[in-house]
């Protein structure tokens, strides 16, 4: 999603009706419930088979002195090394990879999750930025509490930038970019479904 789009600071009431907002919010609440209930197979059904699922790396770039005084100087976008960058994103996956992860979750020898982690996520700040035909650009924020037996508890925080595809059987996730708000990764894994 472009920087420009992120900065559009007002929704279009003609496109984003209360009914649409409710519909989209319900989609995200359901998604969160499925994930926290470990119903990953049901969750995968919410993903388009053309899904592009990306978690950019978040680096510490040089400050550009010529940008001084402008919001762009400390823009988050400067920190991200995503799918199109020549850096190395943390994740850059398509449907078969998500399928592999879902399959793994239901095998007893997926040792990092045996016993499985307990998660609870709050998804909020659900903002429909744009609607183009059957495609919705939506950002949201999440806090996720992650607790694995024998380990500490962890807080995951981040933003999702999604493109949802509206079809006859509801919404599907077509694109997901996950911006993690961690400068030092001390979390047990970023391989979970976020």
């Amino acid at each position: 999603m472009s920087d420009e789009k992120m900065q559009s600071d007002c929704y279009d009431p003609a496109k984003v009706t209360p009914a649409l907002q409710l519909d989209v919010e319900q989609f995200y609440y359901r998604e969160a419930r499925l994930l926290d209930n470990r119903q990953y197979q049901s969750w995968l059904a919410l993903c388009s088979e053309s899904i592009h699922y990306v978690m950019p790396a978040r680096t510490n770039p040089l400050v550009d002195n010529s940008e001084r005084g402008n919001e762009s100087m400390i823009s988050i976008e400067r920190e991200l090394e995503g799918a199109d960058s020549t850096g190395t994103p943390i994740r850059n996956e398509t449907y078969p990879y998500l399928m592999l992860r879902v399959e793994r979750s239901f095998k007893p020898n997926a040792w990092a999750e045996n016993p499985p982690a307990r998660t609870r996520r709050i998804v909020g700040n659900i903002e429909i930025l744009d609607v183009q035909n059957d495609r919705l650009s939506v950002t949201s924020a999440f806090h996720l509490h992650y607790s694995r037996p024998g380990s500490e508890n962890f807080l995951y925080a981040g933003q999702r930038r999604d493109v949802l595809l509206r079809g006859e059987d509801g919404y599907k996730i077509l694109d997901r970019v996950i911006i993690m708000d961690v400068a030092e990764i001390v979390l047990p894994t970023l391989g979970l479904f976020l």
Binding site: M55, A57, T59, N60, P61, L62, V63, E81, A83, S85, T86, G87, T88, P89, I90, R91, N92, E93, T94, P96, Y97, L100, R101, R104, K107, N109, A110, W111, A112, E113, G150, S151, E184, I185, V186, L187, P188, T189, L190, G191
Partner: protein, 424 residues
């Protein structure tokens, strides 16, 4: 402390303290990270004058940069005035490094060029003596830049020795060699730095067990049937499958770990077929049959051939490691291909990797096991395959099946000598 009590003579028994004792960690800092050649960066990351990347030598932060003269510089990232880091970015291009505290200015080679306050005092400090502390030895092999704090250390070429034969089986396979694709992934794991090292040095035999949920049985069977483990020099190691001479091109060029290749379409597959077709000419008949698994370069550099990643295990005390993992791609390949190979690294390894999550869990749990009480009389058993390794006429080093733990015994014998030397 008697290090012989920590590692016995044939290194078949290794005390839990080797992993968890702070006193041993201090000896490691002096005897290993203060002495060995340590990997810093790849030249492809700093092509232009002023390009720099951050690195570590043990816990010591290093700036690796390309000077206006084209040479590579490695300096400790700490101001000569009050010790603050003069560079806060992971990578970039600049003409100077500036300390935020009093704005002492250094050029990209580490030379001190300005002390803003000096015009207010009469004396002029000798700036030539106040540059950033340079790493005393910096050398490259095939674009791989290493540094050492030991001015007397042997040349990097000698240090790598016959490890170069095995590294080149990958590097020289591609018409223009390899390049590092941008910055590394970096993350912290509450484990001892040596276990990620050992894991990549030769321990491919955890695959069928720890990773059984993901790695298919046929891929594991290939490792058991065709896998070889080599110690070209104590502390270094290479594992690979030596494919039969009549193996189909595809089975050598990609396998399970080539999921990205399988999904990548004709363009990717054609490139790899072409590379494999040229392999005999580039690396010779024996090495053309090598389908790499994991490598290790003493003390803490790893190469995961199967997912084209270089990794460094930076120690952060006995109980934490900062793990760095770079995507490595053929320099001549199309950009799309590079991105697909990068995906084959990040999907399976790195902080979000589907295989790495099991590894990290194992490493964290091993550190917990190394700290428990009342088990001092139960050192870890490293004796599998003792004495079964042999020389072969067609490849350098000692060679054995992958289940033989000789790669670890050689590593720990070298480790033991290094710690004994540090004790003086």
């Amino acid at each position: 402390m008697n290090i012989a009590d920590v590692v016995n003579d044939d290194a078949t028994l290794i005390s839990r303290r080797a992993w968890s004792d702070p006193e041993i960690y201090e000896l490691e800092k002096r005897g290993i990270f203060g002495k060995a050649w340590l990997f810093l960066a790849h030249e492809s990351q700093i092509r232009e004058s002023g390009d720099f990347v951050q690195a570590y030598m043990g816990e010591t932060p290093i700036i690796v940069s390309r000077g206006p003269d084209g040479a590579v510089y490695a300096n400790i990232n700490s101001c000569s005035h009050r010790g603050l880091p003069v560079c806060r970015s992971d990578h970039g291009n600049t003409t100077k490094f500036v300390c935020p505290y009093h704005n002492w200015n250094y050029d990209v080679t580490g030379k001190l060029v300005a002390i803003p306050q000096e015009r207010h005092v009469k004396g002029r400090p000798d700036k030539s003596k106040l540059g950033l502390k340079a790493v005393p030895r910096v050398e490259s092999w095939n674009g791989m830049i290493f540094g050492s704090f030991d001015p007397e250390i042997e040349s990097l070429d000698d240090y790598l020795g016959d490890m170069r034969f095995y590294l080149d089986a990958f590097f020289a396979r591609f018409p223009q060699g390899i390049e590092f694709y941008g910055a590394p992934q970096r993350w912290k794991i509450n484990a001892n730095w040596k276990l990620p090292v050992e894991n990549q040095l030769g321990d491919v035999n955890h695959g069928p067990f720890l990773h059984a949920a993901v790695i298919p049985p046929e891929a594991n069977a290939e490792v058991f049937e065709l896998g070889l483990s080599v110690v070209p020099k104590p502390g270094h190691g290479a594992t690979f499958r030596l494919m039969p001479e009549d193996a189909p091109v595809e089975s050598v060029a990609w396998g399970f770990e080539g999921l990205a290749t399988l999904l990548g379409g004709a363009e990717v597959q054609d490139y790899l077929r072409e590379i494999q077709a040229q392999a005999k000419e580039r690396v010779g008949p024996l090495r053309s049959r090598m389908k790499g698994l994991t490598y290790g370069v003493y003390p803490n550099l790893s190469f995961l051939w199967s997912n084209t990643a270089f990794k460094v295990s930076h120690p952060r005390g006995p109980g934490q490691v900062e793990y760095w993992s770079w995507s490595v791609v053929p320099a001549d390949a199309p950009d799309d291909f590079k991105k697909i190979m990068r995906g084959n690294h990040t999907a399976f390894f790195g902080p979000g990797g589907i295989l790495e999550q099991e590894d990290s869990e194992a490493w964290v749990q091993q550190f917990q096991g190394s700290k428990i009480d009342y088990a001092e009389d139960r050192p870890y058993f490293y004796g599998l395959g003792l004495g079964e390794e042999q020389e072969r006429s067609d490849m350098p080093g000692l060679v054995s099946v992958t289940a033989n733990e000789f790669y670890a015994r050689h590593f720990f014998r070298r480790w033991r000598s290094a710690l004994e030397a540090a004790q003086g």
